[in-house]
């Protein structure tokens, strides 16, 4: 019985010695998951041959349905971000390119205009910020259509000396979203 008493004392000692450093589980509420995701948005390519074939100056205008921004998972969580445009004109004429964001009702929410000189031109790169440090974020969350228009400011006969002349519009988005 002496040994049993000794063992019980040992167990009680261990239990009494057990403790736990102070924990603060309310810190869970402070966890902030705000990753930044990036991906391409829209690519448009128009060869000089097409520009020359169209007799009107506004040789291209098209609305593209774009639901990515209005998907609830994105629209309800996006905090801010930037849209990056990169345009290149290797044709022989000056061009105006306009990108517009439209809501479901067809209302224009935002407009970005680009003036491109004839070839040889450097690439034109522009970053547009949305959110606190930029334009209203509602523009992004309400956008359901992207309209791209292009106007030929030159002639319809000349041809660039560069190989495979064309105008290209590249774009991507980089947005910070709140997962928690």
């Amino acid at each position: 019985m002496k040994s049993i008493s000794g063992f019980i004392c040992l167990v009680i000692t261990v239990l009494l010695c057990s403790c736990m450093e102070r924990q603060d589980f309310n810190q869970y509420d402070d966890i902030s998951l705000r990753p930044i995701y990036e991906a391409s948005i829209l690519y448009v390519e128009a060869p000089e041959r097409l520009i020359n074939e169209v007799t009107t100056t506004n040789f291209f205008s098209q609305d593209f349905n774009f639901d990515a921004f209005s998907e609830p998972f994105f629209a309800e969580r996006v905090l801010d971000g930037i849209i990056i445009y990169e345009l290149e004109n290797t044709t022989s004429k000056a061009l105006d390119v306009i990108v517009e964001f439209l809501d479901e009702g067809g209302n224009i929410l935002d407009t970005e205009a680009f003036q491109l000189e004839p070839a040889p031109t450097a690439r034109l790169r522009r970053e547009i910020a949305y959110g606190e440090a930029g334009r209203n974020l509602d523009i992004i969350t309400n956008t359901s259509t992207i309209r791209v228009s292009a106007t030929n400011l030159g002639d319809t006969t000349s041809t660039s000396n560069l190989p495979d002349p064309m105008v290209t519009l590249k774009s991507s988005g980089k947005f910070r979203v709140r997962l928690k």
Partner: protein
């Protein structure tokens, strides 16, 4: 976010289930406790019969986290929890780190000596749950940092590796003294699976690269699979007949069934030196009941909406966005099927070498029943010293543990075993187990990693086992 809360908590604990979480090093070769037959059916048995108190015997709970402790994240230390997650989870954990847990409970457990007094039969039903999940590092990076400014960095989809199950095990074992030096044992098992999930064969990656046309190209190459069994039945049960009755039904042959076996031995090199070994849960469950599987297979690279004139405008009504979405869904279809599948049980291996010494104690064993036992005079020694090895097959390969132990017996009333175990979790795991025999009533309790009791929140591994049994040697 309510749904995400437990998930994120799990993630914050580093979602790494401990590899050796099923190790019962304290119970192994602890022959004073009948439940030791469940970890070595070839263990030495000296009693005439025993019965576990239903629902109060064979209780064990184990859990571990090899990469992170609760204290690492939730300590009230004034540090920003987001910095702690970034430094200690994202930056500090490896994909082999895991979070795991297991529990077991005897529903019925008994045993008796046969007409051939060298044969001991044991039988019972126990309920068991087990889950393991490895640290899904690249998924966590995507969730915390995203893919921005990580050009050409592949996020490995194989980092999602998890499995879990809940089942009842019906078992019947035979333990036979073959000679003065050898005891052999085997146990047949029928598994009645209540629920199962596993997603352990995932492959693929997500990567963002410079686009061919547009600025960026996003590529998803996926070969992923999640197999589930019984989960649909439980979800439906909450609306209909009730979860309790569904658990009961599926646990008693109404779910998916499987077969398995345990084998084990004890061999005496001499009266005081012996080796033991066992192989447990060599078996499988064939899931053909309430099975739902999900797959994501394929490869797709997208660069946003691509309009290449003049061809793109042949049909001015084309919805390019929807086409893009449809193309991705065609190239990487997310599909569901009801295909039956086989899941192998986590097989465990134990082995030990033991040296008995010190004072000789006469056991309660009826010596007349024992014609060929090694200790034919019913003698055991007060002290035992030895070492054990343990291994278990896991989704990322076998995991093992090494244990040194010392046992002390005080008459036939009290036996204690202390262990020192080294595994991937801890190099300071000291455990203590005790078996108390008061008349026919046996009580045992065991706890692991006692040094961690100095700060329980900082422990990477803990286990606790206890139970009550009635044991008879057939004489007073």
């Amino acid at each position: 976010m309510t749904v995400l809360k437990p998930f994120l908590l799990l993630a914050s604990l580093c979602v790494c289930l401990q590899a050796t979480a099923q190790n019962k090093q304290l119970l192994y070769d602890f022959n004073e406790i009948p439940q030791s037959l469940l970890v070595n059916p070839g263990g030495k048995v000296d009693y005439l019969w025993y019965g576990g108190v239903p629902l109060l015997s064979g209780i064990s709970i184990q859990g571990g986290s090899s990469g992170l402790s609760v204290n690492d994240i939730f300590a009230d230390d004034g540090l920003d929890i987001n910095d702690k997650i970034r430094d200690r989870a994202i930056g500090g954990m490896r994909i082999r780190d895991e979070l795991s847990g297991t529990y077991q409970l005897d529903l019925l457990n008994g045993g008796f000596r046969g007409k051939n007094r060298n044969v001991f039969y044991s039988f019972g039903i126990y309920h068991e749950g087990d889950a393991i999940g490895y640290w899904f590092r690249d998924y966590a990076i995507l969730a915390v940092d995203g893919n921005a400014d990580r050009l050409n960095e592949r996020f490995d989809l194989s980092h999602l590796k998890t499995r879990g199950e809940m089942l009842n095990v019906f078992h019947f074992g035979v333990n036979k003294r073959m000679s003065k030096s050898l005891v052999l044992g085997g146990r047949a098992k029928i598994y009645s699976n209540i629920l199962d999930f596993n997603s352990t064969k995932n492959e693929g990656y997500f990567v963002t690269t410079e686009g061919q046309n547009n600025l960026l190209a996003s590529t998803l190459n996926a070969n992923m699979r999640l197999r589930t069994s019984g989960i649909d039945a439980l979800l439906n049960a909450s609306d209909n007949e009730g979860i309790g009755s569904t658990l009961l039904k599926r646990g008693f042959f109404g779910g998916s069934l499987g077969l398995g076996m345990d084998v084990g031995f004890t061999y005496h090199f001499s009266e005081q030196l012996l080796v033991t070994g066992s192989l447990l849960d060599l078996g499988f469950v064939y899931h053909n009941n309430d099975v739902t599987n999900y797959t994501l297979n394929g490869n797709a690279t997208v660069e946003g909406i691509e309009i290449i004139l003049p061809g793109a405008l042949l049909n001015p009504d084309t919805d390019f966005w929807q086409e893009l979405v449809d193309d991705v869904e065609t190239l990487i279809p997310f599909e569901e099927n009801k295909n039956n599948y086989v899941a192998f049980r986590p097989t465990k291996l134990y082995s030990s070498v033991r040296y008995d010494f010190g004072e000789q104690i006469r056991t309660k064993e009826d010596c007349e029943c024992d014609q060929i036992a090694s200790n034919s005079k019913g003698i055991k020694y007060a002290n035992s010293l030895g070492g054990q090895v343990y291994a278990i097959n896991r989704p990322r390969g076998p995991q093992s543990a090494l244990t040194a132990f010392y046992m002390r017996r005080l008459g036939n009333t009290l036996a204690m075993k202390t262990t020192y175990t080294v595994d991937k979790f801890s190099k300071t795991n000291i455990g203590l187990g005790v078996s108390l025999q008061l008349g026919k009533v046996n009580f045992y309790a065991m706890a692991d990693n006692l040094l961690a009791y100095r700060n329980l929140a900082d422990t990477h591994y803990n286990s606790f086992q206890f139970g009550f049994n009635i044991i008879s040697w057939g004489k007073n």
